[in-house]
Amino acid sequence: MGKRIYAGIDIGSLSSEAVILGENGILGYSVRNTGADPQRVAQECMEEALARANVAKEDVLSIVATGYGRIRVPFADREITEITCHAKGAHFLFPETRTVIDIGGQDSKVITLDERGAVTDFAMNDRCAAGTGRFLEVMATALETKLSELGQRSLEAKKGVPISSMCTVFAESEVISLIAEGKRREEIMRGLHEAISSRVYRMAKKLRVKKEITFTGGVAKNQGIVKALEVLFKMPVNVPDEPQIVGALGAALYARSAGPRAR
């Protein structure tokens, strides 16, 4: 009897992740910037995750690819969209999850799911970078703050300055004029986080949001957004330890439930 090991790989717009899944859970994972060559990053991500899991490539019974670059993974046995995979991954980590908010590098999604982790409905915003990881990157630069500190610092302000522009380019100019007006940077940060969160909240209102809510994707690392979402939804929000790998985890779970590939 061989080892029952499966893998999932998520090629996102900004970052890519691989998860190696055994019978008792995650054996190893890796997170990398996608860059300009998704095929290469897929390879590297997989190798790194395998090394961390201490698993040989031959022992992986099957691989599911997800994310916008899912068709660029030549070694995957199957492709499943990131919407389906995020729901599955979030449900695995928090079985009571009925709503997933996923904010990634290039788009944001709200997904509702049933008690088995299957998608019942979803809404997705991909028209522009508004309210995504990319948006926060630009704002962190404009505010001369590290991306990783942006969320925490925003919570130092008692209230946010209202930000009306959600277009990345216009919001940047708005932020620059607010700095010029002498507004406190923390208040601007808080305003930005509130603006992003209420945008997601309005998108979620189109669906039947039920508890529990699990927040996935790179932006879930931002405490400022987490807190702002909790205020808007009036309920606590689950945040995985590693929110970026939830899509890859879901993909690995699908690989596992489909069983070994035909050889």
């Binding site: 916008y68 492709e79 499943i80 969209t81 990131e82 919407i83 389906t84 788009d107 299957a118 998608v119 019942t120 409905d121 979803f122 997705m124 991909d126 189109k206």
Partner: protein, 380 residues
């Protein structure tokens, strides 16, 4: 089937040349915006060639329009402005008259902007928004005026017998399209959505006699040797416009594992449900079929008739999921997309996916993600 769709393609490839030739011989060409409100019968009875300007899906045409109109108009309508002014769609250069049924501000924009910026003679044809006696009279008035216009440009009087003959010809075409469409109530459908849409689109441009012959062969072919398509989730594709050339959504659905079994659109898909009866007052009978009996698109008030019809189609064609494909800025369709999913779920237990396009090639990736997720869920 492939053989027949290829036959259609090669006919369409030479059609432009055929029309140029016919014009040299003195025939007139009447183009129209294919929203289903322009009785082609009148054009045919006057001895002119009708051409439905059904092309779309082209981002470059939308971009060309930006020098003549602001962005906040429906993508198909902006594309027509781009095609008309630039001549990127060669049929616009061959028109003796362009009839535009004005159903909303978006079609009005095509009419006004092309009128101002080109030499094309435009015939704006008002379509009322309520089905009542006064609205019928208004529409019939338009039909009468259109008949006079067609007579004026061709120099031919439209006789009763010519018009009756044209009605019978167009009835034949509609009947055949309907017959092929109804064959798709079986599971799996005997032809792909892509092929059906190609036939329907072809009917706007092709020579009528050719098209009828081709549709007859398609019926025979399907009855003798139906295409062996897998049983897969059955999709109703609906929206504002499905233009010829706007193939992304149809391809993505069928590649993601769905079978499109029925389409319902305002523009681009020929309404084939109702035939025109023949009696003493043919113009009134045309108005009856084209206006009173036509299932109205989204901008009609109240919208209930259309939504009822969609639910009826869902049941009749045993649909598993509805994909709602709207074009950017066609606000009347957006309005319905917010509340229709709830009714659909309650009355037919069928989910709906909303997609939106501005004919921008960069939309394909996210659209594929949505479609794959939706069809994956239907298949479970």
């Amino acid at each position: 089937m492939k053989e027949l769709t290829e036959k259609l393609l090669s006919h369409l490839a030479t059609r432009e040349h055929e029309i140029i030739q016919a014009r040299r011989e003195g025939r007139k060409v009447v183009g129209y915006i294919p929203g289903g409100y322009l009785p082609e019968e009148i054009v045919i009875a006057a001895g002119a060639i009708p051409i439905g300007l059904v092309r779309g899906g082209d981002h470059s045409a939308v971009e060309l329009s930006s020098s003549y109109i602001c962005r906040w108009f429906d993508s198909f309508c902006r594309a027509q402005i781009g095609y008309g002014i630039s001549g990127l769609d060669p049929y616009y250069k061959l028109l003796d008259l362009l009839a535009i049924p004005i159903t909303d501000n978006h079609t009005r924009a095509i009419s006004d902007v092309l009128d101002y910026n080109t030499d094309i003679e435009i015939f704006p044809f008002g379509v009322p928004h309520m089905k009542e006696e006064s609205a019928f009279r208004y529409y019939l008035h338009g039909v009468n005026k259109f008949k006079e216009k067609a007579e004026e440009i061709t120099g031919t009087r439209i006789s009763y017998s010519k018009l009756r003959e044209a009605i019978l010809l167009c009835n034949k075409e509609r009947e055949l399209i309907k017959k092929i469409s109804m064959l798709r109530t079986s599971d799996p459908p005997p032809l792909s959505g892509k092929d059906f849409v190609a036939l329907n689109h072809g009917s706007f441009v092709a020579d009528k006699a050719f098209m009828i012959g081709l549709l007859e062969s398609v019926v025979t072919k399907i009855e003798e040797d139906p295409l062996r398509i897998q049983k897969r989730p059955r999709i109703l594709l609906t929206g504002s416009t499905l233009a010829m050339g706007d193939s992304t959504v149809v391809n993505l659905i069928e590649e993601a594992g769905g079978n499109i079994v029925i389409e319902e659109f305002a523009e681009g898909i020929r309404p084939y449900w109702e035939n025109v009866s023949t009696g003493s007052d043919l113009l009134a009978l045309l108005a009856e079929a084209y206006f009173m009996k036509r299932v109205p698109p989204a901008w009609f008030r109240p919208g209930r008739e259309r939504l009822d019809f969609l639910i009826e189609l869902v049941k009749r064609f045993k649909v598993d999921g509805v994909i709602w494909y709207q074009l950017m800025f066609r606000e009347s369709y957006k309005t319905e997309s917010y509340y229709f999913p709830k009714r659909l779920k309650e009355e037919a237990s069928v989910p709906m996916l909303v997609l939106e396009s501005d004919y921008d090639p960069s939309e394909a990736g996210p659209m594929q993600t949505r479609i794959e997720t939706f069809i994956y869920n239907l298949g479970k």
